[in-house]
């Protein structure tokens, strides 16, 4: 991989990162707070690419003729094989492992995988395990009160719905297959990036939205239910919501909580 190819890869990577962070694409992968750092990092990558090309392509003052021989000596242009990257077999031309940087570019620009959904929910145990907390502020005003799945689930689980009382709540999540075959409502919680995403799971009683395919986003209105289920994955408790009505909604801008 010669310097010009490296510059192009850097340009693509920087461009892909900037593009993902000026659109809402980055919200599928990381927390919203990372955005300024992503833009800055993307711009640095673009700058590195531009400066590399500038130093490489301008007439060299002191017989700096790498361009020609670099172009010739990067034979193994077979990107994407971790096996051939010993990191030091690259003589004086660039590291071949750098070709792998095309994979995230490809991922961001061409594939753009969706946010974690029902498959990830089935893989991991509910996130509400053991983070006991007891002093919850009152629910936000309104009838029904808008709450997050995480907020409702922790109020329902850790103080048995005391701060919810008899009020109606409205929450948004997606459908996932539950442990007993019944659908559950889920929402992924991120602390940093999708690699540490964990699901919050919520069982439903009453007017359960049946027959919807997994990953369908729904908005539920309902009241506290004292029913509690078990997550077979990590043996943690899953709270329930007594659903009074539901409707399908488009996926929210930020699918994580």
């Amino acid at each position: 991989m010669n310097r010009q190819a490296q510059a192009v890869v850097l340009l693509l990577l920087g461009g892909a990162v900037v593009r993902a962070s000026v659109t809402d694409l980055y919200l599928r992968y990381v927390k919203e707070g990372l955005r300024p750092f992503l833009i800055a990092a993307g711009l640095v990558l673009v700058a590195a690419a531009v400066m590399t090309l500038w130093y490489d392509l301008r007439p060299a003052p002191r017989g700096d003729a790498h361009g020609a021989d670099d172009g010739a000596d990067d034979g193994p242009g077979t990107g994407g094989h971790p096996a051939d990257d010993d990191g030091h077999g690259h003589g004086h031309h660039g590291p071949r492992v750098g070709w792998l940087l095309l994979l995230p570019v490809l991922g961001l620009l061409l594939v753009a995988p969706p946010a974690l959904g029902s498959y990830a929910v089935g893989q991991a145990g509910t996130a509400l395990a053991g983070q006991q907390q007891s002093d919850y502020p009152p629910l936000p005003p309104g009838d029904p009160a808008p709450v997050t799945v995480l907020d409702y689930a922790s109020r329902a689980l850790f103080e048995r719905g005391a701060s919810i009382g008899d009020r109606r709540v409205r929450l948004t999540g997606f459908i996932a297959p539950g442990p007993d075959g019944q659908p559950i409502l889920a929402r992924m919680v991120l602390s940093c990036c999708a690699a540490d995403g964990r699901p919050v799971k919520l069982g439903m009683t009453g007017d359960v939205p049946l027959g919807l395919p997994p990953d369908t986003w729904v908005e539920l209105t309902g009241r506290y239910s004292d029913r509690v289920g078990r997550d077979p994955v990590n043996d943690a408790e899953i709270p329930y919501l007594a659903v009074e009505s539901w409707r399908e909604v488009p996926a929210p801008r930020n699918q994580y909580e």
Binding site: V9, L10, L13, A48, G63, D69, G89, H92, L110, S118
Partner: protein, 361 residues
């Protein structure tokens, strides 16, 4: 250990320079290519097809086959893999770029004499000072690998640079604050993490002084850095480090995404009951998952079926040994280094963290 620093620096300088200026304008340089791989059939094309052309062809192919590619990746498991892979990289890019910029500044603008003055002359004393200096670097482990490489290149004794490499991702204020937030009821986790991580970093530094061999570390050559202007050298260092460390980061991210998708959490449940097995299970999990050190506390908090001690081990091992770090260390310091350093760090980290957990928790 002056011999260490001396012998690690020259290969970068004269050797690299020789290979940069030697074949300039001459015929195709057979030596590096021959040693690199078996590329016999390609060599005849070498003069015509360079990596820019390969790259262009690759990109055109990708765009042409975009739809079938997207279809192929739509199975839920593969899709989750892709999401996790992309997100690990997106998350790491700012830290990688920050670390690379800092390491380029160290490489180009900070004179060698600065490190001689900043660190105690005796290597055994430089180790704890360098570990404690990790407190000021707010970042995660992706950034600290190129920085440590840069420090060694600038004459810092490897033992001190390695202690810094291990300590910085674990003891900086951002990570400790995240740990405090993730474990609201257990401030001793924060203390345990800071103390255990510092101790492991220092033990590894001193261990390197006693057992380490300078020729295990092979830093990649940097021909461009000699004789170039400071601006050119700075951007060359940035480009090289991003492409190099970034490439290995991709390898690590692929491994972490595979583990994330292939290992169901259910398996862990059966291990949580035994005190010894749970420590080992979470230590191995920390290596496999390769979670950024700023996020691992939240994951540890959610692994509530495990004991606090085993979760402390998870938090101490993770920022020091994990798949993406091993991959990046192999890239920046050489394979011979990584195969010795990573297992040794793993054993020391599990031991120290287990002990700290037994005492503090």
């Amino acid at each position: 250990m002056p011999s260490t620093t001396d012998s690690s620096a020259p290969p970068v300088g004269p050797d690299g320079r020789a290979s940069a200026t030697g074949p300039a304008g001459a015929g195709p340089p057979d030596v590096p290519e021959g040693e690199a791989a078996s590329v016999g059939p390609r060599r005849s094309l070498g003069g015509r097809i360079g990596s820019v052309e390969v790259l262009a062809a690759l990109l055109v192919l990708l765009i042409v086959f975009r739809a079938p590619l997207a279809d192929a990746l739509s199975a839920p498991r593969l899709q989750t893999w892709t999401t996790v892979f992309v997100s690990v990289l997106v998350q790491a890019v700012p830290f990688l770029v920050f670390g690379v910029l800092l390491s380029a500044v160290i490489a180009v603008f900070v004179p060698r004499s600065f490190w001689a003055r900043a660190l105690p002359r005796h290597p055994a004393l430089a180790v704890p000072v360098a570990s404690a200096a990790g407190v000021v670097l707010p970042g995660c482990e992706c950034g600290s690998v190129p920085i440590a490489g840069s420090l060694i290149r600038r004459g810092v004794t490897p033992a001190a640079a390695l202690a810094f490499l291990l300590a910085a991702p674990a003891v900086n204020p951002v990570v400790l604050a995240a740990t405090a937030v993730a474990f609201p009821g257990a401030p001793e986790m924060v203390l345990g993490r800071a103390v255990a991580s510092l101790v492991v970093a220092m033990v590894m530094g001193w261990l390197w002084l006693r057992l380490g061999r300078a020729d295990w570390i092979r830093l990649p050559r940097r021909p461009e850095l000699d004789g170039a202007s400071r601006g050119a050298a700075f951007w060359a260092a940035v480009r090289h480090d991003v492409v190099h460390a970034g490439g290995f980061l991709v390898v690590g991210a692929m491994a972490a995404a595979s583990i994330n998708v292939l290992v169901p959490e259910r398996w862990l449940q059966t291990l949580a009951d035994s005190p010894v097995l749970s420590v080992l299970a979470l230590a191995v999990l920390a290596v496999l998952l390769s979670i950024c050190s700023e996020a691992d506390a939240f994951v540890a908090a959610s692994l509530s079926q495990f004991s606090l001690t085993s979760r402390l081990v998870f938090l101490v091992v993770g920022p020091m040994v994990d798949l993406k770090l091993i991959s990046m260390q192999a890239g920046v310091f050489g394979r011979r280094f990584a195969v010795r350093f990573a297992p040794a760090t793993f054993v020391v980290a599990v031991g120290v963290a287990g002990l700290a957990g037994a005492v503090l928790l």
